[in-house]
């Protein structure tokens, strides 16, 4: 398997450890992961290449209950297009808006009904992200069960450190998608 250039998109990296774990595992397996994250530079993780993208002011989105973690999406989409990545892998429905159709979407946490439609754009973002995703990933059976229960979709269970499993999934998607 030739080295893959993988973009891992998460608005709040490094707040979710799984993103960094996967990035390091992919790097150790000889691939070239980059984390596309929102905001200003944070303390460097020397094992992970991080592409910081600006985000727009989002006070209005939060105060008017429109949505959360959406303000980085335009810049992240530009960074993904410019980056020449083989695969884009988002870690939340909002992050998935920045990726192209057929990308990977991981749900890091189990879905709860009370959070599915508690913002004006939440349901629309969720529906769009799931409909466009090439593959859904859950880090545990519990998360996969919640996706099946609330969304009626199947997710592949892959632990964050499972570089081999993720690479196999990326290859599967790449072989199915004309480049």
């Amino acid at each position: 398997v030739s080295a893959l250039r993988v973009a891992l998109v998460h608005h709040a990296y490094p707040s979710e450890p799984d993103v960094g774990v996967l990035a390091r595992a992919l790097a150790a397996a000889g691939h070239e992961p980059s984390v596309v994250a929102a905001g200003l530079a944070r303390p460097a993780d020397h094992h992970v290449r991080v592409v910081r993208v600006p985000h727009l002011p989002d006070a209005v989105l939060r105060v008017r209950k429109i949505g959360e973690n959406l303000s980085h999406v335009p810049a992240a989409a530009v960074a993904l297009r410019a980056g020449g990545f083989d695969v884009a892998h988002a870690f939340s429905p909002a992050d998935a808006l920045a990726t192209a159709r057929g990308s990977v979407l991981t749900f890091l946490h189990a879905i709860r009904r009370e959070r599915l439609s508690d913002r004006r754009l939440r349901l629309a973002v969720l529906e769009r992200a799931v409909e466009r995703a090439g593959a859904l990933v859950a880090p545990s059976p519990e998360v996969a069960d919640s996706l099946s229960h609330w969304l009626g979709v199947d997710a592949r269970i892959l632990a964050a450190g499972d570089a081999e499993g993720h690479v196999a999934l990326y290859q599967e998607l790449l072989s199915a998608t004309p480049r």
């Binding site: 209950k65 439609s117 913002r119 969720l126 009626g152 979709v153």
Partner: protein
């Protein structure tokens, strides 16, 4: 187990398929759900139904929908209600009918002696069905209406200038089908919903039932949470366009005019926004005409609350809300022309 069934409406040229995962004994109550363009919310509704406290062997579910086979498979095939044999569903061509038609298909497929109607944008509380059935046992032969409230999970969405939701304190004169139970015998006797009524078919059915001496009984403990959906202005106006057909129901049931301001205006806001608009047009000729706008402006200034920040938001939303309400009046006017009875 999935097997095909035959229903009275299979002659419908748009009928595509129907499926049954069947229990052998007829249930006490069947829940009928029409669904269109809300696959995820329908799934959530089915999940809420699966948590009902009414014993599982006494009820089943019938869904009549407009979904393509792959979407239907995702919603239904592995849902616990289907695997337990308590869910039947059938698809109908999207162009083939209004909600009244879907509901008629649904209750005619139902096998329960009682038929509970709920909408696909609702989430019943666990005791919902038990309370409705309890009401029906106490008042046999009558219509039982539960309480509908905006979903507490979604109240943040009220921050949007244009929202769509529903609140019903039973017994409400409009007998909305988002939370109501009919004895099947009553539906058969009345011939079900009037499929010529594109909207307001639930009001029409309840009024026909009342004319036959059937009462609408309140079951306030049977609680359904209704979705709160934010809409942008043009979409809100477009989705309200169907309400022009309310004029058809008003024409059939002139007694509905008692719900209208001056027996003419369906909503009080419609009268007020028209007065405000007239005042705005005439203010150059006579400044005093500006006073006509006061009732509308007073209402609008308060709709967010009394704090200064609320008033500011209300003022910012005023133009969009005025356009929306004027569009509603135009919608009703179009319906009045189409159905030849004046209701605004």
């Amino acid at each position: 187990v999935v097997r095909r069934v035959h229903v009275a409406d299979r002659q419908d040229p748009h009928w595509r398929e129907d499926k049954l995962t069947g229990v052998e004994d007829a249930p006490v109550v069947s829940v009928v759900i029409p669904s269109h363009a809300r696959p995820l919310r329908l799934r959530w509704l089915l999940n809420a139904l699966h948590e009902q406290t009414l014993p599982a062997d006494t009820w089943d579910v019938v869904v009549v929908h407009h979904y393509e086979p792959d979407v239907a498979a995702r919603i239904f095939d592995r849902h616990p209600l289907a695997t337990e044999g308590r869910l039947r569903h059938c698809s109908s061509n999207p162009g083939a009918g209004c909600p009244a038609r879907l509901r008629n298909l649904g209750w005619r497929m139902a096998r329960g002696g009682l038929v509970a109607f709920i909408d696909d944008d609702c989430r019943p509380e666990p005791g919902w069905l038990e309370e409705l059935v309890s009401g029906a046992e106490q008042r046999p032969g009558q219509i039982i209406q539960g309480r509908t409230r905006p979903d507490p999970y979604e109240v943040a969405i009220f921050a949007a200038p244009h929202v769509r939701t529903l609140e019903v304190e039973p017994p409400g004169g409009f007998a909305q089908t988002c939370n109501i139970l009919y004895p099947r015998a009553v539906l058969e006797r009345l011939g079900g919903f009037d499929e010529r009524a594109v909207t307001g078919e639930d009001i029409d059915l309840a009024l026909r039932a009342r004319s036959e001496g059937i009462a609408l009984i309140a079951a306030p403990e049977a609680v359904v949470n209704h979705a709160i959906e934010a809409q942008v202005l043009w979409r809100a106006i477009r989705s309200n366009w169907k309400w022009r057909h309310l004029a058809y129901v008003v024409k059939r049931h002139p007694e509905m005019r008692r719900y209208c301001r001056l027996r003419l205006f369906w909503e009080p806001e419609h009268l007020e926004v028209l007065l405000a608009f007239a005042g705005l047009l005439g203010v150059r000729r006579s400044p005093a005409l500006a006073l006509l706008a006061i009732p509308y402006l007073r209402r609008e200034a308060r709709h967010r609350g009394s704090r200064p920040a609320d008033r500011l938001v209300a003022v910012a939303e005023l133009p969009g809300r005025a356009v929306f309400e004027l569009a509603e009046v135009m919608t009703m006017a179009a319906g009045s022309i189409e159905h030849r009875t004046l209701v605004l």
